[in-house]
Point group: C2
Chain length 349, copies 2
């Protein structure tokens, strides 16, 4: 199996993914997965496509040498997939990792549509498509016999969606609650210790963990997008981040965090979803948690999601570390899933 | 796919599994899994085999009406599988759920051997085979193109082995630590509150959670067996519970638990494994944990395992509830895995 990767967006996560592919080459080969990069598109720094394969070390130079983009990235995807049809040994896979516009989920959602329309499998670490258009895109993928995977959209690479999809057959997910935004959890932990809001936030920005537009984190938009994504996938909902009752954190949150800590409790920004389909109830709220709550012990950038299931009861997945490497791994694990499925489909033809 | 189930052992878990099969019939049918029960073997209460299928409601009566067992359960398995060869539409699956002898992992391990030798897939909720003979049995299964699955052996039905096997391709597990025995965690939580050891233990026995022989729990044998199982599967070791440095809890543990709680810490029986292959280091020890340790917040019967991985860092799976239903689900989810694999193997022939 030779996936031909087209990278849409070439930021920190995508660059780490390219290095991880190289570090994992032997393990991937053992799974009969032999990826080649055939295209890279950036918004402002050029584009490159080469059906013969692009050496990872040359990507930056070839992007710089390319002309400034004239057409949209969606058109780039369409053109690249048309060109790849001449090489049937390659399995085209679009890796979508652009910056999210939380108002409408674009341009990522258009990229996913163009990729599926062109016959490619799609992997994204972007919350946008799954938070805004999961049902439509999943149906489009199903009709085209292609995969649409997004493990990195929530909890970085911790295999939450994978867990439910691959390891919990016949289980019903009745609801979820979680701490899903690293920046706000880090800031809340710092506020409890009496650190000023602005200083804690500045540290997260310096470390590159906070969103480029930090209001996406502190106003709860990132958590709301993840809540919508979880509800669309796990609860059969058809919602967007705008349907999530949303609360954020601010300078005034410090006193509440300190007071809660003084009572042996902890203030957390908790994303909650319950119900099924059209009747889901979704919110992102500051909540004071008792110290035996599994979400209460989360320090710094840690994330966790508790699922309420039948018949497995309440189970919690906790990610103690965060970071680029883990999101990059999500793309890689989705790539293995795509390859496995394509191999199975091929052998059963 | 019609799995023909032969149930070895018919205790609480197996009976709950039979009911769960019925409750999940529609969900299983949607996955094209249509199980029939064709055999049940108990140690003292009779055996029944009927290749045409046995109605679940009639199992108890048919066991009582059957003659007292003369031959071993392993022979029963061999005979049943020989008889099933006449019905190629059935896929024989042995469900092994006998009581564990922690000294040698028998008779479960012999049952698994006989089942694989007879051409069946094997599913067990028993720690014994995987704690004592994982490598041998996995090799036997591989050579016979059969599945040997044991999701219920550790953390009941929380899909830990499944998680690593199905959702974490190319990930290296460098070690694990966990609270894996519900009885000792329940007793430790009670001791912290000043409850006497014997009373707490008696409550667990009354609830049917403690092992029939309670020394298996309190002396750390159950945790040691799970530690060996985890090491054999996740760390490539070839160990048995006897290789695990082991500690238990007793009447004298109460004072330590209360003192730790007074210091804002919690006393937990922690199973730890690190290293790879022949160089693993395994132990079950009472440890005082700080309150931000994800294992510290576990109340009552809750279990959790933290994996140290590359590149996903530290991740934790927590089971907040325990119980028969969850172990029964482990058998069901393994049955779905067996069916999926068999369907894939059939279509690629």
């Amino acid at each position: 199996m030779t996936p031909a990767l087209i990278l849409i967006g070439y930021g920190h996560v995508t660059r780490r993914f390219v290095r991880l592919l190289d570090e994992s080459r032997a393990a991937l080969a053992a799974l009969d997965v032999h990826p080649v990069i055939v295209g890279v598109a950036t918004r402002r720094h050029g584009r490159v496509f080469d059906g013969r394969g692009i050496d990872a070390a040359s990507i930056a130079d070839r992007l710089v040498a390319s002309a400034a983009p004239q057409r949209s990235a969606a058109d780039f995807i369409t053109d690249a997939l048309t060109a790849l049809r001449a090489v049937p040994a390659l399995t085209p896979v679009i890796i979508e990792a652009t910056t999210l516009d939380v108002v409408d989920g674009e341009p990522a959602t258009s990229h996913v549509r163009a990729a599926l329309a062109g016959g490619a499998h799609v992997i994204t670490a972007n919350k946008g498509p799954v938070a805004f258009a999961y049902r439509e895109l999943a149906a489009q993928a199903e009709a085209a016999s292609r995969s649409f995977l997004f493990e990195g959209a929530v909890m970085d690479g911790i295999p939450l969606f994978n867990l439910v999809r691959e390891t919990m057959p016949t289980v019903t997910v009745r609801g979820f609650r979680g701490v899903v935004n690293s920046t706000t959890n880090f800031v809340l932990t710092a506020l409890e210790r009496g650190e000023p809001f602005d200083e804690a936030l500045a540290r997260m920005q310096a470390d590159g963990i906070a969103e480029a537009d930090v209001s996406l984190d502190v106003d709860g938009w990132d958590a709301a997008a993840k809540t919508a994504a979880l509800a669309n996938v796990l609860l059969g909902a058809q919602t967007t981040p705008h349907d999530v009752a949303r609360e954020g954190i601010g300078v005034e949150t410090g006193a509440r965090a300190v007071a809660a800590r003084g009572r042996g409790r902890r203030l957390k920004l908790v994303a909650t979803g319950s119900g099924q389909g059209a009747s889901v109830s979704l919110r992102v709220r500051l909540e004071e948690l008792a110290d035996d709550d599994p979400l209460a012990a989360l320090e710094g950038q840690a994330n966790a999601i508790e699922l309420d299931t039948w018949p497995l009861g309440h189970m919690v997945m906790t990610q103690r570390n965060g970071g680029l490497e883990i999101t990059a791994y999500a793309l890689l694990s989705d790539l293995v899933t795509v390859s496995k499925r394509a191999a199975t489909a091929r052998s059963s033809r």
